[in-house]
Symmetry: C2
């Protein structure tokens, strides 16, 4: 492709509303153009990238035995009413009335439609398992669309749905999909992690999220650099400290803390580590008042808390409820001397292992120091993992220490079980002629979002640095003086033709621009390899090569250029 | 692909609601599955066909220099209000309110969006011309969806939009698109015609429709087998008869026609040809009563009529209006002896050339015979082309005689001019620094509809006969006894591997079905080439080949089979 035949629409500045680097760069490089809130047109340059992502996804899905279909975007309400999600989806689902005032939606996902197909097309266990997928436009009416295509309203998703006779078959396909996703993201050149995930609203039993790692990611992840372990911070287990609780060494005493209401302030006043302080989070569950004890350097994990018996429906206590149970304002709460018949005390594993700790005194302007379990207060009613893991915690798989990073979710696989097949009566006849509900799995990839995630991982001050597999063009060929020097033009045209014949996608910049403008554009749009052809080096029989990813400029002989570039593509 | 790994969902009977052969066969072959009125899922087999159509369209559009983009399906109302089409589109446009009660639509077409992009991205004449296209899902809320994907509500369209400095540049691209469309439909193996068309609601100056020829087509077309001429019947010109009007030979006389009210009945009574009778169509335009004279074997063309000066807003006269002007009931109307000061007489060219003709006498139960212009009545106020052409009429290009056929519209190209660029203020700066509106063209292809149109053209009692370029698989490999005979299995697996390695798409039927069932399925789904492998012929070193399009079964040596099939694909 020649720039004169193409449509480059690069900008000097990104619109102010763009926050993330990927969003700014996608707008500046002219990959996308905003039509409205959460609505983007994929411009010629961006669509080339998107199509490459799609092609890798399609190829690996086909290799994994999934069959491509294409379901309508517009779906009748009746199916959603059958599954019970017509109301449950809330305003995120874009509801539509047709000319006959019948209800439809712009599909945010396709469990209902594919289950409807399966229940009418699949009769016998002999037809199973089956795995259908599509690459298709979805709409979710996000309350706050942002970050460009990362949280757009209209987006492209690869969604797959598998059907099985039993759980064992579902698990087999789940493993196949896990492997296919790993292949896809590896081929796309992404830094990613598969993490155990809470399956959330879609329901079911087991699920993994695939995250592209990025500082700007919306999710916090815990992973072990020395092993495969990775999990959403919300789900990663904080192991109990390996060492037993030390014996008490100090006497319990009041500490004057006239202005110190946080663990940080108290630790600073006393000149001790934050890990020796204990804070209280007061919760209500039903009528029961709960004190959750955490080290000053830890945070309450609400997902783990909600999974404890009796705390399924917890909420944070109001200040009035705190005063009623402890007769003390927040900031000075502690577990010593409280009425344990009215208050349930739950200690995090790390708090249960402390001796000589510091906590609130349950009276204004005082804390207690040298507090010890058993001696100064009875053991907790329950010791449990109720905190977020932090960097340095031991990995739950016992193979090292955790690191914390951030990620953007780009894939999600679920074992749905029979949630949808039972709701929609999607059954098959087994070998004994019995009617049984199908087991189902579903497997999503945020295709359009991947483009942003890749850029988020790979850019610098000059622009995008595309991984070679998804770059819009593999090579930028920049002749200096294309319209002025016949030698330059001839050399550029010859190398262009040779590279194209070798199956390499080349963008030949035949514009009448200054070299600086051409270089800046090619760098901004992230083409991995650049060859510059100028009169001076050409006179010496050489061209100039530079990699977008960095490294020194290399001089390459004119005759060697084709082989040199082919080697970069391994062809 | 092996049938055991694929999903064949063939049916013995098509649902009753399917009328057209293509609709029945697409359902029976399992290419599509209905989700709701005008909503279809493309099943794995059908999607393979659809993707091949898309690939050819994309390839030719790229070759023609168009740049692919992907615009959102959901479009804000503001753009449609700017162009004035928000109301004008009527209930065919699916309107949507988002969670903030803002108005959107599911795009039925994308003139507004692309013009919005052009007005912000294109500043200078140096950037023009440009031609953007997309292959994308559209929604038009048809009042009566039918014929499967031919008139679905949700469908896939290739829509392209070009931008130009002037009309000459627009015409150049229009010609390029006309040629690209010809290439596309030729490569897809379709019988088609490009016809001059009325540009209808989209507006603009010149347009051509591309029709796939089919008896069931919704449009009647006139074409000349001896030349390129083709036009919608509504638009094809009916030339004036070459011969001058003969001299009068008969005296005018009353004919008793007690029960004869139609030209057919009168001609039969008199034993003359229908082409010697003249009928009257009574119209009103404003307050003016019009008599339109046509030969008994011709029909009034309302499009041509509406283009005559003074008849732009014509309507058919009521019986009361007819009696008021002629004092005669319909069935006996004629042009002789009427009050020409109150009645405008318009004769079709063929009527003006008649002598000694027969027409109504303007009194009940009587006609006139031997009527002659000039002698029995004054010449008509206007002689014009007001009829539909019929088979046998001379071609307007003077190169032969017209035939009439029916077609399904699969493509449409328009010269829009400045209709949208003026409404949306889409301008550029010319070389003199003057602001000018861009000239625009638009170019559509009904991608999903093409699959049905191809089947409509090419099927028999046993099922679909796919043109090779869009067949879901190129070869059906049917081993008889695959699970019983090791020799059959080995031969089938070997040939399968060889064909796949040669880049040919093969469906190997490894099901444990009777040969008749397998043959019926492979014929129904329209695979162009079938190889049968059985123990008996294999013992003789031979395989059986048959073409889906017809022809005798051929025996092919096992060793020659690969080369034999490769030759069918020209590889």
């Amino acid at each position: 492709m020649r720039t004169s035949q193409f449509f480059l629409a690069t900008l000097k500045e990104a619109p102010n509303e763009a926050e993330l680097p990927s969003h700014k760069l996608m707008l500046r490089a002219g990959l996308i153009k905003k039509l409205g809130s959460g609505l983007y047109t994929w411009m010629p340059l961006g669509l080339r990238v998107l199509r490459k992502v799609e092609a890798v996804v399609r190829d690996e899905m086909n290799k994994a035995g999934a069959l491509e279909v294409l379901m309508p975007a517009v779906q009748p309400a009746e199916l959603w009413q059958e599954s019970g999600r017509w109301e449950a989806m809330g305003p995120q689902m874009l509801k539509i009335k047709d000319r006959h005032q019948r209800d439809f939606c712009f599909g945010p996902t396709h469990e209902e439609v594919i289950t409807d197909i399966a229940r009418s097309e699949i009769k016998s266990y002999k037809q199973l398992p089956l795995n259908f997928y599509q690459i298709q436009t979805k709409f979710r009416d996000e309350i706050r669309p942002r970050f460009g295509v990362i949280r757009a309203r209209e987006f492209i998703m690869k969604d797959a749905y598998s059907f099985h006779t039993d759980r064992a078959s579902l698990r087999e396909t789940y493993v196949v999909m896990h492997r296919a996703y790993t292949n896809i993201f590896t081929r796309l050149g992404l830094k990613f992690r598969a993490v155990a995930a809470d399956s959330g609203a879609i329901g079911g039993d087991a699920s993994h999220e695939f995250h592209a790692l990025a500082d700007s990611g919306e999710d916090a992840l815990a992973y072990c650099p020395d092993s495969d372990f990775a999990a959403n911070v919300e789900l990663a287990e904080a192991l109990a400290p390996a060492a037993a609780r030390p014996a008490a060494a100090e006497a319990m005493r009041d500490v004057d803390t006239p202005k110190q209401t946080t663990c940080e302030q108290v630790a600073e006043l006393l000149g001790i580590g934050l890990e020796r302080t204990v804070k209280v989070i007061a919760l209500m569950a039903g009528e029961r008042f709960h004190m959750m004890l955490l080290r000053g350097d830890h945070n309450l994990n609400e997902v783990k808390t909600g999974k404890l018996a009796g705390l399924e429906d917890f909420r944070f206590a109001t200040e009035a409820e705190i005063r009623e149970h402890l007769n003390c304002p927040p900031g000075f709460l502690g577990p010593v001397g409280i009425d344990r018949s009215r208050i349930r005390l739950i200690a995090d594993r790390s708090v249960a292992a402390l001796a000589d700790f510091v906590c609130g005194a349950n009276k204004p302007k005082f804390h207690l120091a040298g507090v010890n379990w058993g001696r100064d207060l009875p053991e907790a009613d329950l010791v449990a993992d109720i905190r977020d893991v932090v960097a340095g915690d031991p990995s739950p798989d016992g193979k090292g220490r955790l690191e914390i990073c951030r990620g953007t979710e780009i894939g999600h696989i679920f074992q749905l079980g029979t949630k949808y097949s039972e709701a929609l009566n999607c059954t098959y006849l087994d070998a004994e002629g019995q009617t049984r509900p199908m087991e189902m799995g579903c497997y999503g990839i945020g295709v359009s979002r991947i483009v942003a995630a890749a850029i988020e991982q790979s850019h610098d001050a000059r622009g995008i640095i595309f991984p070679q597999p998804i770059a819009p063009f593999g090579v930028a060929l920049v002749p200096v003086g294309y319209q002025r020097s016949e030698a330059v033009k001839a050399a550029a045209d010859k190398l262009y033709a040779e590279l194209v014949a070798a199956g390499i996608e080349v963008l030949l910049d035949d514009r009448n621009e200054r070299p600086g403008v051409m270089f800046a554009d090619m760098e901004l749009i992230g083409i991995p390899h650049r060859i510059t052809i100028g009169d001076k080096s050409l006179a010496e029989g050489r061209l100039e090569y530079v990699s977008r990813a960095g490294g020194e400029t290399e001089m390459v002989g004119v005759e060697e250029a084709l082989a040199f570039i082919r080697a970069k593509f391994g062809i």
